[in-house]
Protein backbone atom coordinates (compact mmCIF):
# COMPACT_ATOMS: atom_id res chain seq x y z
CA UNK A 1 0.00 0.00 0.00
CA UNK A 2 2.40 2.68 -1.10
CA UNK A 3 -0.28 5.36 -1.22
CA UNK A 4 -0.91 4.91 2.49
CA UNK A 5 2.70 5.48 3.29
CA UNK A 6 2.72 8.66 1.25
CA UNK A 7 -0.35 9.85 3.13
CA UNK A 8 1.42 9.09 6.39
CA UNK A 9 4.44 11.17 5.48
CA UNK A 10 2.48 14.08 4.11
CA UNK A 11 0.36 14.19 7.24
CA UNK A 12 3.48 14.24 9.36
CA UNK A 13 4.85 17.05 7.24
CA UNK A 14 1.63 18.97 7.71
CA UNK A 15 1.90 18.74 11.47
CA UNK A 16 5.53 19.72 11.38
CA UNK A 17 4.53 22.81 9.40
CA UNK A 18 1.50 23.70 11.46
CA UNK A 19 3.15 23.39 14.82
CA UNK A 20 6.36 25.24 14.20
CA UNK A 21 8.58 22.38 13.30
CA UNK A 22 8.45 20.39 16.47
CA UNK A 23 9.28 16.82 15.75
CA UNK A 24 6.37 14.99 14.19
CA UNK A 25 7.78 11.90 15.83
CA UNK A 26 6.15 9.39 13.54
CA UNK A 27 9.64 7.97 13.30
CA UNK A 28 10.64 8.75 16.87
CA UNK A 29 11.45 5.87 19.13
CA UNK A 30 8.79 5.21 21.70
CA UNK A 31 11.34 5.34 24.47
CA UNK A 32 11.70 9.06 23.84
CA UNK A 33 8.13 9.90 23.02
CA UNK A 34 6.59 9.09 26.41
CA UNK A 35 9.40 10.90 28.21
CA UNK A 36 8.82 14.13 26.34
CA UNK A 37 5.14 13.72 27.05
CA UNK A 38 5.89 13.31 30.72
CA UNK A 39 7.56 16.67 31.18
CA UNK A 40 4.72 19.19 31.27
CA UNK A 41 3.40 20.27 34.63
CA UNK A 42 -0.23 20.02 35.62
CA UNK A 43 -0.86 23.50 34.18
CA UNK A 44 -1.06 22.04 30.75
CA UNK A 45 1.32 24.13 28.66
CA UNK A 46 3.85 21.72 27.42
CA UNK A 47 6.96 23.76 26.88
CA UNK A 48 7.22 24.39 23.22
CA UNK A 49 4.99 21.56 22.12
CA UNK A 50 2.62 24.18 20.81
CA UNK A 51 -0.35 22.63 22.47
CA UNK A 52 -1.16 25.56 24.78
CA UNK A 53 -1.11 28.17 22.05
CA UNK A 54 -3.29 26.29 19.66
CA UNK A 55 -6.05 25.34 22.02
CA UNK A 56 -5.35 22.20 23.89
CA UNK A 57 -7.24 19.20 22.68
CA UNK A 58 -8.78 20.72 19.62
CA UNK A 59 -6.49 18.68 17.46
CA UNK A 60 -6.97 15.61 19.56
CA UNK A 61 -10.71 15.89 19.67
CA UNK A 62 -10.90 15.85 15.91
CA UNK A 63 -8.38 13.09 15.40
CA UNK A 64 -10.38 10.08 14.25
CA UNK A 65 -10.15 6.65 15.77
CA UNK A 66 -7.78 4.24 14.07
CA UNK A 67 -10.48 2.34 12.18
CA UNK A 68 -11.98 5.58 10.85
CA UNK A 69 -8.50 6.79 9.89
CA UNK A 70 -7.93 3.53 8.05
CA UNK A 71 -11.21 3.93 6.21
CA UNK A 72 -10.31 7.48 5.23
CA UNK A 73 -6.86 6.44 4.13
CA UNK A 74 -5.25 8.56 6.86
CA UNK A 75 -2.47 7.75 9.24
CA UNK A 76 -3.60 6.72 12.70
CA UNK A 77 -0.35 7.95 14.23
CA UNK A 78 -0.87 10.25 17.19
CA UNK A 79 0.50 13.67 16.31
CA UNK A 80 3.20 15.27 18.44
CA UNK A 81 0.82 18.08 19.30
CA UNK A 82 -1.87 15.82 20.70
CA UNK A 83 -2.35 16.39 24.44
CA UNK A 84 -3.13 12.70 24.88
CA UNK A 85 0.01 10.70 24.33
CA UNK A 86 0.40 7.07 23.35
CA UNK A 87 1.86 4.64 25.85
CA UNK A 88 4.12 1.84 24.73
CA UNK A 89 4.64 -1.80 25.66
CA UNK A 90 7.21 -4.54 25.34
CA UNK A 91 6.69 -7.53 23.03
CA UNK A 92 3.95 -9.86 24.27
CA UNK A 93 3.53 -7.76 27.46
CA UNK A 94 0.72 -5.64 28.79
CA UNK A 95 2.21 -4.42 32.06
CA UNK A 96 2.77 -0.66 32.26
CA UNK A 97 6.38 0.48 32.17
CA UNK A 98 7.53 3.51 34.17
CA UNK A 99 7.37 5.74 31.11
CA UNK A 100 3.86 4.52 30.39
CA UNK A 101 2.73 5.41 33.91
CA UNK A 102 4.20 8.89 33.58
CA UNK A 103 2.41 9.39 30.29
CA UNK A 104 -0.86 8.17 31.76
CA UNK A 105 -0.55 10.70 34.57
CA UNK A 106 -0.25 13.47 31.97
CA UNK A 107 -3.23 12.06 30.07
CA UNK A 108 -5.19 11.89 33.33
CA UNK A 109 -4.39 15.54 34.04
CA UNK A 110 -5.76 16.51 30.65
CA UNK A 111 -8.89 14.48 31.28
CA UNK A 112 -9.35 16.25 34.64
CA UNK A 113 -9.05 19.63 32.92
CA UNK A 114 -11.55 18.51 30.29
CA UNK A 115 -14.20 16.86 32.42
CA UNK A 116 -16.75 16.40 29.66
CA UNK A 117 -14.36 14.59 27.36
CA UNK A 118 -14.83 10.87 26.91
CA UNK A 119 -12.12 8.80 25.38
CA UNK A 120 -11.74 5.49 23.69
CA UNK A 121 -8.51 3.70 24.51
CA UNK A 122 -7.22 1.66 21.60
CA UNK A 123 -4.94 -1.31 22.23
CA UNK A 124 -2.47 -2.09 19.44
CA UNK A 125 0.22 -4.70 18.84
CA UNK A 126 3.12 -5.11 16.50
CA UNK A 127 2.64 -7.24 13.42
CA UNK A 128 4.37 -10.33 14.74
CA UNK A 129 2.45 -13.34 15.87
CA UNK A 130 -1.10 -14.49 15.49
CA UNK A 131 -3.99 -12.11 14.78
CA UNK A 132 -6.37 -13.47 17.37
CA UNK A 133 -3.77 -13.60 20.12
CA UNK A 134 -2.86 -10.02 19.26
CA UNK A 135 -6.52 -8.98 19.51
CA UNK A 136 -6.52 -10.37 23.04
CA UNK A 137 -3.17 -8.75 23.83
CA UNK A 138 -4.39 -5.37 22.53
CA UNK A 139 -7.47 -5.69 24.74
CA UNK A 140 -5.18 -6.27 27.73
CA UNK A 141 -3.12 -3.21 26.88
CA UNK A 142 -6.14 -0.97 26.49
CA UNK A 143 -7.58 -2.28 29.75
CA UNK A 144 -4.28 -1.77 31.61
CA UNK A 145 -4.29 1.88 30.51
CA UNK A 146 -7.94 2.26 31.43
CA UNK A 147 -7.45 0.75 34.88
CA UNK A 148 -4.52 3.06 35.55
CA UNK A 149 -6.50 6.14 34.52
CA UNK A 150 -9.40 5.00 36.68
CA UNK A 151 -7.01 4.62 39.62
CA UNK A 152 -5.92 8.20 39.02
CA UNK A 153 -9.50 9.29 39.50
CA UNK A 154 -10.94 9.37 36.02
CA UNK A 155 -14.48 7.95 36.13
CA UNK A 156 -14.53 4.75 34.17
CA UNK A 157 -17.74 5.85 32.40
CA UNK A 158 -15.56 8.28 30.49
CA UNK A 159 -13.21 5.52 29.38
CA UNK A 160 -14.00 2.84 26.82
CA UNK A 161 -11.64 0.39 25.21
CA UNK A 162 -11.20 -1.35 21.90
CA UNK A 163 -8.49 -3.66 20.62
CA UNK A 164 -7.24 -3.47 17.07
CA UNK A 165 -4.60 -6.13 17.64
CA UNK A 166 -1.94 -5.87 14.97
CA UNK A 167 -4.42 -4.72 12.34
CA UNK A 168 -3.78 -0.96 12.19
CA UNK A 169 -0.05 -0.36 12.52
CA UNK A 170 1.36 3.16 12.37
CA UNK A 171 4.66 1.86 11.06
CA UNK A 172 4.88 -0.95 8.54
CA UNK A 173 8.51 -1.88 8.31
CA UNK A 174 9.73 -5.13 9.77
CA UNK A 175 12.25 -3.99 12.38
CA UNK A 176 12.26 -3.39 16.13
CA UNK A 177 12.09 0.40 15.81
CA UNK A 178 8.89 0.03 13.86
CA UNK A 179 7.45 -2.78 15.96
CA UNK A 180 7.99 -0.76 19.15
CA UNK A 181 5.95 2.13 17.74
CA UNK A 182 3.07 -0.22 17.05
CA UNK A 183 2.92 -1.77 20.53
CA UNK A 184 0.83 0.99 22.00
CA UNK A 185 -2.30 2.21 23.66
CA UNK A 186 -3.80 5.20 21.87
CA UNK A 187 -6.30 7.68 23.29
CA UNK A 188 -9.03 9.09 21.10
CA UNK A 189 -11.53 11.70 22.24
CA UNK A 190 -14.97 10.47 21.23
CA UNK A 191 -17.32 13.04 22.80
CA UNK A 192 -17.29 16.24 24.77
CA UNK A 193 -15.62 19.57 24.13
CA UNK A 194 -12.22 20.22 25.62
CA UNK A 195 -12.29 22.90 28.30
CA UNK A 196 -8.98 24.48 27.51
Amino acid sequence: MPHLKIACYSLAALFAFAFGGCAPSTAAKPETAPKSAGTPAAGGSSQGQGEGQRGSGSESSTAPGSLEALQKGQSSATSASSPLKDVFFEFDRYDLLTDARETLKVNADWLKRNPTARIEIEGHCDSRGTNEYNLALGAKRAQAAKDYLANLGIPSERLSTISYGAEIPVCKEQNESCWSQNRRARFVVIAGKPAS
Binding site: D92, G129, E132, L135, K140, Q143, T161, I162, E167
Partner: protein
Protein backbone atom coordinates in the same frame (compact mmCIF):
# COMPACT_ATOMS: atom_id res chain seq x y z
CA UNK B 1 -23.24 -8.71 -5.04
CA UNK B 2 -21.38 -11.79 -4.01
CA UNK B 3 -20.55 -14.52 -6.44
CA UNK B 4 -22.17 -17.75 -5.47
CA UNK B 5 -20.59 -21.11 -5.61
CA UNK B 6 -22.35 -23.33 -8.04
CA UNK B 7 -22.09 -26.95 -7.18
CA UNK B 8 -21.45 -29.24 -10.08
CA UNK B 9 -22.47 -32.81 -10.22
CA UNK B 10 -20.30 -35.16 -12.16
CA UNK B 11 -22.07 -38.32 -13.10
CA UNK B 12 -20.04 -41.42 -12.95
CA UNK B 13 -21.18 -43.36 -15.96
CA UNK B 14 -18.57 -45.98 -16.37
CA UNK B 15 -16.16 -47.79 -14.17
CA UNK B 16 -14.02 -50.60 -15.42
CA UNK B 17 -11.59 -50.46 -12.55
CA UNK B 18 -10.35 -53.82 -11.37
CA UNK B 19 -9.46 -53.89 -7.69
CA UNK B 20 -5.70 -54.12 -7.51
CA UNK B 21 -4.58 -54.19 -3.93
CA UNK B 22 -0.88 -54.27 -4.68
CA UNK B 23 -1.12 -50.76 -6.06
CA UNK B 24 -2.18 -49.34 -2.72
CA UNK B 25 0.02 -47.94 -0.02
CA UNK B 26 3.02 -45.71 -0.55
CA UNK B 27 3.17 -43.95 -3.84
CA UNK B 28 6.71 -44.70 -4.82
CA UNK B 29 8.18 -45.37 -8.21
CA UNK B 30 11.11 -47.64 -8.87
CA UNK B 31 14.06 -47.02 -6.59
CA UNK B 32 12.08 -45.13 -3.97
CA UNK B 33 11.65 -42.03 -6.14
CA UNK B 34 8.48 -40.10 -6.79
CA UNK B 35 6.17 -42.05 -9.05
CA UNK B 36 6.80 -41.00 -12.68
CA UNK B 37 3.56 -40.35 -14.47
CA UNK B 38 2.59 -38.83 -17.81
CA UNK B 39 -0.63 -36.89 -18.33
CA UNK B 40 -1.44 -36.74 -22.00
CA UNK B 41 -3.45 -33.83 -23.42
CA UNK B 42 -6.97 -35.08 -24.05
CA UNK B 43 -8.38 -36.26 -27.32
CA UNK B 44 -11.24 -34.15 -28.65
CA UNK B 45 -13.72 -36.87 -29.51
CA UNK B 46 -16.58 -34.51 -30.30
CA UNK B 47 -17.42 -32.52 -33.39
CA UNK B 48 -17.05 -29.04 -31.86
CA UNK B 49 -13.58 -27.51 -32.16
CA UNK B 50 -11.52 -27.17 -28.98
CA UNK B 51 -11.90 -23.40 -28.74
CA UNK B 52 -11.44 -23.38 -24.97
CA UNK B 53 -8.13 -25.27 -25.08
CA UNK B 54 -9.72 -28.03 -23.04
CA UNK B 55 -7.36 -30.68 -24.35
CA UNK B 56 -4.49 -29.18 -22.41
CA UNK B 57 -6.62 -27.40 -19.79
CA UNK B 58 -8.03 -30.60 -18.33
CA UNK B 59 -4.60 -32.25 -18.43
CA UNK B 60 -3.07 -29.16 -16.77
CA UNK B 61 -5.53 -29.34 -13.88
CA UNK B 62 -4.64 -32.99 -13.27
CA UNK B 63 -0.92 -32.19 -13.51
CA UNK B 64 -1.38 -29.37 -10.96
CA UNK B 65 -2.98 -31.76 -8.50
CA UNK B 66 -0.49 -34.59 -8.91
CA UNK B 67 2.37 -32.13 -8.54
CA UNK B 68 0.81 -30.51 -5.48
CA UNK B 69 0.49 -33.89 -3.81
CA UNK B 70 4.25 -34.31 -3.84
CA UNK B 71 3.99 -38.02 -4.61
CA UNK B 72 4.36 -37.87 -8.36
CA UNK B 73 6.96 -36.77 -10.81
CA UNK B 74 4.85 -35.54 -13.71
CA UNK B 75 6.84 -35.99 -16.89
CA UNK B 76 7.23 -32.88 -18.99
CA UNK B 77 4.79 -32.71 -21.86
CA UNK B 78 7.45 -31.67 -24.36
CA UNK B 79 9.02 -35.12 -24.01
CA UNK B 80 5.86 -36.97 -25.05
CA UNK B 81 6.22 -38.97 -28.26
CA UNK B 82 2.58 -39.75 -28.94
CA UNK B 83 0.25 -37.26 -30.65
CA UNK B 84 -2.98 -37.28 -28.63
CA UNK B 85 -5.27 -36.66 -31.61
CA UNK B 86 -3.73 -39.57 -33.51
CA UNK B 87 -4.11 -42.26 -30.88
CA UNK B 88 -6.93 -43.78 -28.91
CA UNK B 89 -7.62 -43.67 -25.21
CA UNK B 90 -8.53 -47.29 -24.60
CA UNK B 91 -6.37 -50.38 -24.30
CA UNK B 92 -5.10 -51.53 -27.68
CA UNK B 93 -5.57 -48.18 -29.40
CA UNK B 94 -2.19 -46.74 -28.37
CA UNK B 95 1.34 -48.01 -27.81
CA UNK B 96 2.58 -48.35 -24.22
CA UNK B 97 6.09 -48.32 -25.63
CA UNK B 98 5.68 -44.63 -26.47
CA UNK B 99 5.32 -44.02 -22.73
CA UNK B 100 7.74 -46.52 -21.20
CA UNK B 101 10.45 -45.06 -23.46
CA UNK B 102 10.18 -41.68 -21.76
CA UNK B 103 10.20 -43.25 -18.29
CA UNK B 104 6.51 -43.15 -17.43
CA UNK B 105 5.26 -45.81 -15.04
CA UNK B 106 1.76 -44.36 -14.93
CA UNK B 107 -0.23 -42.75 -17.73
CA UNK B 108 -3.36 -40.61 -17.76
CA UNK B 109 -5.24 -40.43 -21.04
CA UNK B 110 -8.66 -39.12 -21.85
CA UNK B 111 -11.12 -37.69 -24.29
CA UNK B 112 -13.77 -35.01 -24.17
CA UNK B 113 -16.65 -33.74 -26.21
CA UNK B 114 -18.51 -30.47 -25.85
CA UNK B 115 -22.28 -30.23 -26.30
CA UNK B 116 -23.32 -26.61 -25.96
CA UNK B 117 -22.86 -25.66 -22.30
CA UNK B 118 -22.08 -29.22 -21.28
CA UNK B 119 -19.03 -31.40 -21.49
CA UNK B 120 -18.46 -35.13 -21.36
CA UNK B 121 -15.02 -36.22 -20.21
CA UNK B 122 -13.65 -39.72 -20.17
CA UNK B 123 -10.45 -40.28 -18.21
CA UNK B 124 -8.31 -43.34 -17.70
CA UNK B 125 -5.28 -44.26 -15.65
CA UNK B 126 -2.94 -46.91 -17.06
CA UNK B 127 -0.13 -48.91 -15.52
CA UNK B 128 2.58 -48.65 -18.17
CA UNK B 129 4.65 -51.49 -16.71
CA UNK B 130 1.82 -53.99 -16.69
CA UNK B 131 0.07 -52.60 -19.79
CA UNK B 132 -3.16 -52.47 -17.81
CA UNK B 133 -5.94 -50.03 -17.14
CA UNK B 134 -6.38 -49.04 -13.51
CA UNK B 135 -9.23 -46.54 -13.60
CA UNK B 136 -11.74 -45.64 -16.28
CA UNK B 137 -14.38 -42.99 -15.63
CA UNK B 138 -16.72 -40.82 -17.59
CA UNK B 139 -18.02 -37.53 -16.25
CA UNK B 140 -20.78 -35.28 -17.50
CA UNK B 141 -20.91 -31.71 -16.25
CA UNK B 142 -21.09 -28.07 -17.15
CA UNK B 143 -18.39 -26.92 -19.54
CA UNK B 144 -17.28 -24.12 -17.22
CA UNK B 145 -16.66 -26.68 -14.46
CA UNK B 146 -14.22 -28.76 -16.48
CA UNK B 147 -11.47 -28.21 -13.90
CA UNK B 148 -13.60 -29.80 -11.23
CA UNK B 149 -13.97 -32.89 -13.37
CA UNK B 150 -10.20 -33.02 -13.68
CA UNK B 151 -9.83 -32.63 -9.89
CA UNK B 152 -12.35 -35.40 -9.31
CA UNK B 153 -10.27 -37.71 -11.43
CA UNK B 154 -7.09 -36.63 -9.63
CA UNK B 155 -8.87 -37.55 -6.37
CA UNK B 156 -9.56 -40.97 -7.92
CA UNK B 157 -5.90 -41.40 -8.83
CA UNK B 158 -4.86 -40.66 -5.24
CA UNK B 159 -7.52 -43.11 -4.04
CA UNK B 160 -6.20 -45.78 -6.40
CA UNK B 161 -2.70 -45.44 -5.02
CA UNK B 162 -3.43 -44.90 -1.34
CA UNK B 163 -6.94 -46.09 -0.59
CA UNK B 164 -7.95 -42.54 0.46
CA UNK B 165 -9.38 -40.09 -2.08
CA UNK B 166 -7.49 -36.89 -2.81
CA UNK B 167 -8.53 -33.44 -1.63
CA UNK B 168 -8.38 -31.53 -4.88
CA UNK B 169 -12.04 -30.49 -4.93
CA UNK B 170 -11.62 -28.23 -1.93
CA UNK B 171 -11.45 -24.51 -1.27
CA UNK B 172 -9.45 -22.23 0.93
CA UNK B 173 -10.88 -19.19 2.67
CA UNK B 174 -8.38 -16.56 3.71
CA UNK B 175 -7.79 -12.91 4.51
CA UNK B 176 -6.35 -10.71 1.79
CA UNK B 177 -5.36 -7.08 1.39
CA UNK B 178 -5.39 -7.51 -2.37
CA UNK B 179 -8.05 -4.83 -2.77
CA UNK B 180 -5.98 -2.16 -0.98
CA UNK B 181 -5.50 -1.34 2.68
CA UNK B 182 -8.49 -3.26 3.99
CA UNK B 183 -8.52 -6.87 5.08
CA UNK B 184 -11.30 -8.77 3.35
CA UNK B 185 -12.33 -12.43 3.41
CA UNK B 186 -11.79 -14.34 0.18
CA UNK B 187 -12.47 -17.85 -1.07
CA UNK B 188 -10.54 -19.64 -3.75
CA UNK B 189 -10.54 -23.13 -5.14
CA UNK B 190 -7.36 -24.96 -4.23
CA UNK B 191 -6.12 -24.55 -7.80
CA UNK B 192 -6.56 -20.77 -7.60
CA UNK B 193 -9.67 -20.72 -9.79
CA UNK B 194 -13.20 -19.63 -8.85
CA UNK B 195 -11.96 -16.84 -6.62
CA UNK B 196 -14.49 -14.60 -4.99
CA UNK B 197 -14.67 -12.08 -2.21
CA UNK B 198 -16.89 -12.91 0.75
CA UNK B 199 -16.66 -9.47 2.37
CA UNK B 200 -16.33 -6.04 0.86
CA UNK B 201 -16.99 -3.75 3.82
CA UNK B 202 -13.75 -1.76 3.75
CA UNK B 203 -12.79 -2.49 7.33
CA UNK B 204 -10.93 -5.33 9.00
CA UNK B 205 -12.14 -8.90 8.59
CA UNK B 206 -10.27 -11.75 10.22
CA UNK B 207 -10.00 -15.45 11.01
CA UNK B 208 -12.40 -17.02 8.51
CA UNK B 209 -13.22 -20.70 9.02
CA UNK B 210 -15.55 -23.15 7.28
CA UNK B 211 -18.49 -24.78 8.89
CA UNK B 212 -18.11 -28.58 8.75
CA UNK B 213 -20.71 -28.83 5.95
CA UNK B 214 -18.63 -26.47 3.78
CA UNK B 215 -21.62 -24.20 3.25
CA UNK B 216 -20.84 -21.26 5.50
CA UNK B 217 -17.92 -19.22 6.73
CA UNK B 218 -17.55 -17.90 10.27
CA UNK B 219 -15.38 -14.82 10.55
CA UNK B 220 -14.53 -11.87 12.74
CA UNK B 221 -15.26 -8.38 11.44
CA UNK B 222 -14.99 -4.76 12.51
CA UNK B 223 -17.68 -3.75 10.03
CA UNK B 224 -19.98 -2.65 12.86
CA UNK B 225 -17.04 -0.81 14.44
CA UNK B 226 -16.15 -3.23 17.18
CA UNK B 227 -15.13 -6.82 16.58
CA UNK B 228 -17.84 -9.45 16.33
CA UNK B 229 -18.49 -12.85 14.78
CA UNK B 230 -20.54 -13.31 11.60
CA UNK B 231 -21.75 -16.50 9.96
CA UNK B 232 -22.07 -16.13 6.21
CA UNK B 233 -23.86 -18.71 4.08
CA UNK B 234 -22.15 -18.97 0.71
CA UNK B 235 -25.00 -20.29 -1.41
CA UNK B 236 -27.73 -17.95 -0.23
CA UNK B 237 -25.63 -14.94 0.75
CA UNK B 238 -27.48 -14.86 4.09
CA UNK B 239 -25.55 -13.71 7.09
CA UNK B 240 -26.10 -13.97 10.82
CA UNK B 241 -24.42 -11.58 13.22
CA UNK B 242 -23.81 -13.57 16.36
CA UNK B 243 -25.43 -11.71 19.22
CA UNK B 244 -22.89 -10.75 21.84
CA UNK B 245 -24.48 -9.69 25.09
CA UNK B 246 -21.70 -11.13 27.20
CA UNK B 247 -18.68 -9.47 25.68
CA UNK B 248 -16.89 -8.95 22.40
CA UNK B 249 -16.50 -12.01 20.20
CA UNK B 250 -12.96 -11.94 18.86
CA UNK B 251 -12.96 -15.27 17.03
CA UNK B 252 -14.48 -18.72 16.90
CA UNK B 253 -14.82 -22.11 15.29
CA UNK B 254 -17.96 -24.12 14.56
CA UNK B 255 -18.07 -27.56 16.19
CA UNK B 256 -17.75 -30.75 14.09
CA UNK B 257 -21.50 -31.42 14.52
CA UNK B 258 -22.25 -27.89 13.31
CA UNK B 259 -24.31 -27.03 16.41
CA UNK B 260 -21.98 -24.88 18.48
CA UNK B 261 -19.31 -22.23 18.23
CA UNK B 262 -16.25 -22.28 20.47
CA UNK B 263 -15.54 -18.57 20.78
CA UNK B 264 -12.96 -16.21 22.19
CA UNK B 265 -14.88 -13.62 24.20
CA UNK B 266 -13.43 -10.41 25.64
CA UNK B 267 -14.90 -8.81 28.73
CA UNK B 268 -13.09 -5.93 30.46
CA UNK B 269 -9.78 -6.75 28.83
CA UNK B 270 -9.87 -10.45 29.69
CA UNK B 271 -10.41 -13.04 26.99
CA UNK B 272 -11.99 -16.37 27.83
CA UNK B 273 -13.46 -19.24 25.88
CA UNK B 274 -17.20 -19.73 25.66
CA UNK B 275 -19.47 -22.25 24.03
CA UNK B 276 -22.11 -20.48 21.94
CA UNK B 277 -25.00 -21.64 19.84
CA UNK B 278 -25.04 -20.67 16.18
CA UNK B 279 -26.95 -17.50 16.97
CA UNK B 280 -24.30 -16.40 19.42
CA UNK B 281 -26.13 -17.13 22.68
CA UNK B 282 -23.89 -18.36 25.47
CA UNK B 283 -24.39 -22.05 26.17
CA UNK B 284 -21.57 -22.35 28.66
CA UNK B 285 -18.49 -20.52 29.82
CA UNK B 286 -15.43 -22.72 29.32
CA UNK B 287 -12.52 -20.89 30.98
CA UNK B 288 -12.26 -18.64 34.03
CA UNK B 289 -8.87 -17.08 33.73
CA UNK B 290 -7.65 -13.52 34.24
CA UNK B 291 -5.18 -13.86 31.36
CA UNK B 292 -5.48 -14.46 27.64
CA UNK B 293 -7.41 -17.50 26.39
CA UNK B 294 -7.87 -17.57 22.63
CA UNK B 295 -7.99 -19.56 19.39
CA UNK B 296 -9.97 -22.70 20.21
CA UNK B 297 -9.85 -25.55 17.67
CA UNK B 298 -12.08 -28.62 17.94
CA UNK B 299 -10.92 -32.21 18.10
CA UNK B 300 -12.57 -34.16 15.26
CA UNK B 301 -14.85 -35.96 17.72
CA UNK B 302 -15.98 -32.64 19.21
CA UNK B 303 -15.05 -33.68 22.74
CA UNK B 304 -11.94 -31.57 23.22
CA UNK B 305 -10.58 -28.15 22.34
CA UNK B 306 -6.99 -27.13 21.84
CA UNK B 307 -6.47 -23.44 22.62
CA UNK B 308 -3.91 -20.80 23.55
CA UNK B 309 -3.47 -19.52 27.08
CA UNK B 310 -0.84 -17.26 28.63
CA UNK B 311 -1.60 -18.58 32.13
CA UNK B 312 1.99 -19.85 32.40
CA UNK B 313 3.39 -16.41 31.52
CA UNK B 314 3.74 -16.99 27.79
CA UNK B 315 1.30 -18.18 25.14
CA UNK B 316 1.21 -22.00 25.15
CA UNK B 317 -1.19 -24.64 23.85
CA UNK B 318 -3.61 -26.41 26.19
CA UNK B 319 -6.18 -29.11 25.61
CA UNK B 320 -9.51 -28.99 27.38
CA UNK B 321 -11.81 -31.94 27.85
CA UNK B 322 -15.28 -30.46 27.40
CA UNK B 323 -17.08 -33.01 29.59
CA UNK B 324 -14.88 -32.47 32.64
CA UNK B 325 -13.78 -28.90 31.86
CA UNK B 326 -10.23 -29.85 32.78
CA UNK B 327 -7.25 -28.62 30.80
CA UNK B 328 -3.77 -29.97 30.32
CA UNK B 329 -0.77 -28.15 28.93
CA UNK B 330 0.44 -29.47 25.56
CA UNK B 331 3.50 -27.38 24.59
CA UNK B 332 6.53 -26.79 26.76
CA UNK B 333 9.24 -25.71 24.35
CA UNK B 334 9.37 -22.14 23.04
CA UNK B 335 7.84 -19.02 24.55
CA UNK B 336 5.25 -18.21 21.90
CA UNK B 337 3.02 -21.01 20.64
CA UNK B 338 -0.25 -19.94 19.02
CA UNK B 339 -2.84 -20.63 16.29
CA UNK B 340 -3.43 -24.37 16.96
CA UNK B 341 -5.37 -26.50 14.49
CA UNK B 342 -6.40 -30.03 15.33
CA UNK B 343 -5.78 -32.51 12.50
CA UNK B 344 -8.80 -34.27 10.92
CA UNK B 345 -7.44 -37.64 12.03
CA UNK B 346 -7.17 -36.35 15.57
CA UNK B 347 -3.62 -37.48 16.17
CA UNK B 348 -1.77 -34.19 15.66
CA UNK B 349 -1.99 -30.49 16.25
CA UNK B 350 -0.33 -27.94 13.98
CA UNK B 351 0.51 -24.49 15.31
CA UNK B 352 2.64 -21.39 14.91
CA UNK B 353 5.72 -21.19 17.11
CA UNK B 354 8.25 -18.44 17.55
CA UNK B 355 11.88 -19.33 16.78
CA UNK B 356 14.14 -16.41 17.64
CA UNK B 357 12.61 -13.49 15.80
CA UNK B 358 10.84 -15.70 13.28
CA UNK B 359 7.70 -17.82 13.24
CA UNK B 360 7.51 -21.39 11.96
CA UNK B 361 4.89 -24.13 11.65
CA UNK B 362 5.16 -26.98 14.15
CA UNK B 363 3.24 -30.20 14.63
CA UNK B 364 2.88 -32.06 17.90
CA UNK B 365 1.00 -35.21 18.90
CA UNK B 366 -2.33 -34.45 20.55
CA UNK B 367 -1.17 -36.57 23.48
CA UNK B 368 1.96 -34.45 23.80
CA UNK B 369 5.57 -35.35 23.16
CA UNK B 370 8.19 -33.73 21.03
CA UNK B 371 7.11 -30.87 18.76
CA UNK B 372 8.35 -31.06 15.20
CA UNK B 373 9.22 -27.94 13.21
CA UNK B 374 8.08 -28.41 9.61
CA UNK B 375 9.01 -25.05 8.03
CA UNK B 376 12.29 -23.19 7.92
CA UNK B 377 12.79 -20.09 10.05
CA UNK B 378 14.60 -18.26 7.23
CA UNK B 379 11.25 -16.48 6.78
CA UNK B 380 7.99 -16.40 8.72
CA UNK B 381 5.44 -19.19 8.24
CA UNK B 382 2.20 -18.94 10.20
CA UNK B 383 -1.44 -19.98 10.55
CA UNK B 384 -1.46 -23.67 9.58
CA UNK B 385 -4.64 -25.36 8.39
CA UNK B 386 -5.09 -29.06 7.61
CA UNK B 387 -6.43 -30.56 4.42
CA UNK B 388 -9.55 -32.67 5.05
CA UNK B 389 -7.53 -35.89 4.69
CA UNK B 390 -4.88 -34.66 7.14
CA UNK B 391 -2.07 -35.25 4.67
CA UNK B 392 -1.37 -31.60 3.83
CA UNK B 393 -1.03 -28.29 5.63
CA UNK B 394 -1.68 -24.90 4.07
CA UNK B 395 -0.18 -21.82 5.72
CA UNK B 396 0.87 -18.24 5.08
CA UNK B 397 4.47 -17.20 4.64
CA UNK B 398 6.42 -14.06 3.76
CA UNK B 399 9.23 -16.00 2.11
CA UNK B 400 8.47 -14.24 -1.18
CA UNK B 401 8.27 -10.76 0.36
CA UNK B 402 4.56 -10.32 0.99
CA UNK B 403 2.50 -12.92 2.80
CA UNK B 404 1.14 -15.56 0.43
CA UNK B 405 -0.48 -18.93 0.91
CA UNK B 406 1.48 -22.14 0.56
CA UNK B 407 0.72 -25.82 0.84
CA UNK B 408 2.96 -28.69 1.88
CA UNK B 409 2.79 -32.29 2.93
CA UNK B 410 2.18 -32.48 6.68
CA UNK B 411 5.80 -33.60 7.04
CA UNK B 412 6.93 -30.26 5.61
CA UNK B 413 7.95 -31.68 2.24
CA UNK B 414 6.97 -30.37 -1.17
CA UNK B 415 6.12 -26.76 -0.24
CA UNK B 416 4.25 -25.02 -3.04
CA UNK B 417 2.85 -21.52 -3.36
CA UNK B 418 -0.93 -21.29 -3.81
CA UNK B 419 -1.65 -17.56 -4.12
CA UNK B 420 -0.06 -14.36 -5.30
CA UNK B 421 -2.76 -11.73 -5.10
CA UNK B 422 -0.46 -8.73 -4.93
CA UNK B 423 -1.61 -8.06 -1.38
CA UNK B 424 -0.93 -9.98 1.80
CA UNK B 425 -2.78 -13.30 1.92
CA UNK B 426 -3.03 -14.70 5.45
CA UNK B 427 -5.09 -16.89 7.77
CA UNK B 428 -5.99 -19.74 5.40
CA UNK B 429 -8.66 -22.20 6.41
CA UNK B 430 -9.15 -25.35 4.36
CA UNK B 431 -12.68 -26.46 3.47
CA UNK B 432 -14.00 -29.96 3.98
CA UNK B 433 -14.33 -32.11 0.85
CA UNK B 434 -16.87 -30.63 -1.53
CA UNK B 435 -18.98 -32.39 -4.13
Amino acid sequence: MIARIVSIVCFLILSTRPALAQFKGEIIGQGGQKFPIAVSPLNNTGTAPDSGKLSEGIADAIVHDLDLSGWFKVLDRSAYIEQPQRSGITLGTFDFHDWSTIGAEGLVKGGFSVQGEDITVELRLFDVFQNKERIGKRYVGRLKDFRRIAHKFADEIINEFTGIPGIFNTRITYVSTSGGRFKEIHVSHLDGSEKFQVTNNHTINLSPSWTPDGKSILYTSYKDRSPNLYLFELYSGKEVKLSSKTGRYLGGKVSPDGQYVAATVETAGNTNLYLLDRSGNVVRRLTEDPGIEVSPSWSPDGRQLVFVSDRSGSPQLYIMDLASGKSRRLTYSGNYNTAPEWSPKGDKIAYTGRVGNRFAIFTIGSEGGEARKVTSESSDSEDPTWSPDGRFIAFSSNRGGRYQLYVMQASGENQRRLTGSGGDDTKPNWSPRLD
